[in-house]
Amino acid sequence: MTAQDTADAVPELPATLWRDPEPKRGYDVVIVGGGGHGLATAYYLARNHGITDVAVVDKGWLAGGNMARNTTIIRSNYLLDASAGIYEHAMKLWEGLADDLDCPILFSQRGVLNLAHSPQDVREGVRRVNANRLNGIDAEWLDPRQALEICPILNISPDVRYPVLGATYQPRAGIARHDYVAWGFARAADRLGVDLIQDCEVTGIEVDSGRVTGVSTTRGLLTARKVALCAAGHSSVLAEMAGLRLPVQSHPLQALVSELLEPVHPTVVMSNAVHVYVSQAHKGELVMGAGIDQYNSYAQRGGLHVIQRQLAAALELFPIFARAHVLRTWGGIVDVTPDASAILGLTPIDGLYLNCGWGTGGFKATPGAGWCYADTIANGVPHPLAAPLTLERFATGALVDEHGAAAVAH
């Protein structure tokens, strides 16, 4: 960890970053959901396509949903070409994003280890490293000793329930400051003329003869030539307003932080097998995530036993954490698809666009998803990187089965 990553390097931002406009009566494009994906989509619509008559509406405040609740891990080491394409596109955008947005986002490329705990994990990991390399993505296979060199606090003893047998390593992976990312996109979109409208809940999607005409909101009717859904865990509820059923299920996903600690954890460690992923944030808190709670939910909370299991797994991997305290736990609602890949593209309703199903892994995709979604909305055809992620794949059978690289620790 470099000095730049430590607490005193966290920069101050101005008190006011964007206007707080009254909604106009109509827009060219209305984006529903002011999280990372919605804000990024608005920014790229304006910057890449010159479409600035855009509103982003949110029922709460900007980036107050999953954007405020994720564990900020960024990586692109996915198995399949379709996933690798869009996540690596996102990674390249992350690498230039602070300059592009003229806003610090504290993107720290400290690398990610994905641990293997069984012979099958090892085979899967080696295969994924090879697939990553064929797709031009940095990836290495490490034995336990090499993993220990990357992360000296990792327990590689064979005398544990799930010993570390090896790890994949993506050096360019890392973490970013999630709220700065949202604010950076928001300010940049605002400067290009996008209206960011908070406290504005969509209560209906207006459709006339198979074509979308606008949205009803708690702040009045907004007409729109195009409506772009970007609401993560609440996508099913919104889509139903347009009579559209989605192959997604909403689940709680929980995370937690410790109190602030001295820098001890120099990278990001993830383990699908024991269901935990851990990094240390810039300020010093350990940030950990778990797998989803098993049942459908919109409650933004989950069961304590999930946290307990996750901490038990973390303690076995990192005995040094034994004296740390849990400061806070929370949950967000994630939308999970049958193949653990996102849905990004057109819908059967003209002018209605869909971006959902990122499940537990939406944050890392933020710039890439926004870029491809904006292009899809602007041109009315899927961006090439989003083409495999259409809704139609569930009928054609061309699934993008990323359970191996995505399932628990997305």
């Binding site: 099913s236 299920q249 459908n296 919109y298 036993h305 059978g397």
Partner: protein, 90 residues
């Protein structure tokens, strides 16, 4: 979360496995379905914000499947009932 197994009584959630939406019946004649219709059966499930009839399995005890009506906004379980019965509340 306490779940009332219709055979064993109230037990902790950790004893149960979730099975998703209840009352999804297998198509009478799958061979006549279009790809779209088959996809609807295979991949599409309700995802309501509110009461949801869903399947649970009491894996740590009687190992039997049963159904529950649970509110996805509060996690409150309104009713549990045996497989084959229709939901006592909606």
């Amino acid at each position: 979360m306490l779940i009332e197994c219709p055979w064993c009584g109230p037990r902790d959630e950790t004893e149960f496995h979730y099975g998703g939406q209840a009352h999804v019946s297998y198509p009478d004649d799958p061979s006549v379905l279009t790809d779209e219709q088959w996809a609807r059966y295979l991949f599409y499930r309700d995802n309501p914000q509110g009461r949801f009839a869903e399947r649970w399995c009491h894996g740590s005890a009687c190992r039997r499947w049963f159904n529950a009506v649970r509110d996805t906004r509060t996690h409150q379980i309104v009713a549990t009932y045996r497989t084959g019965e229709s939901a006592p509340v909606t």
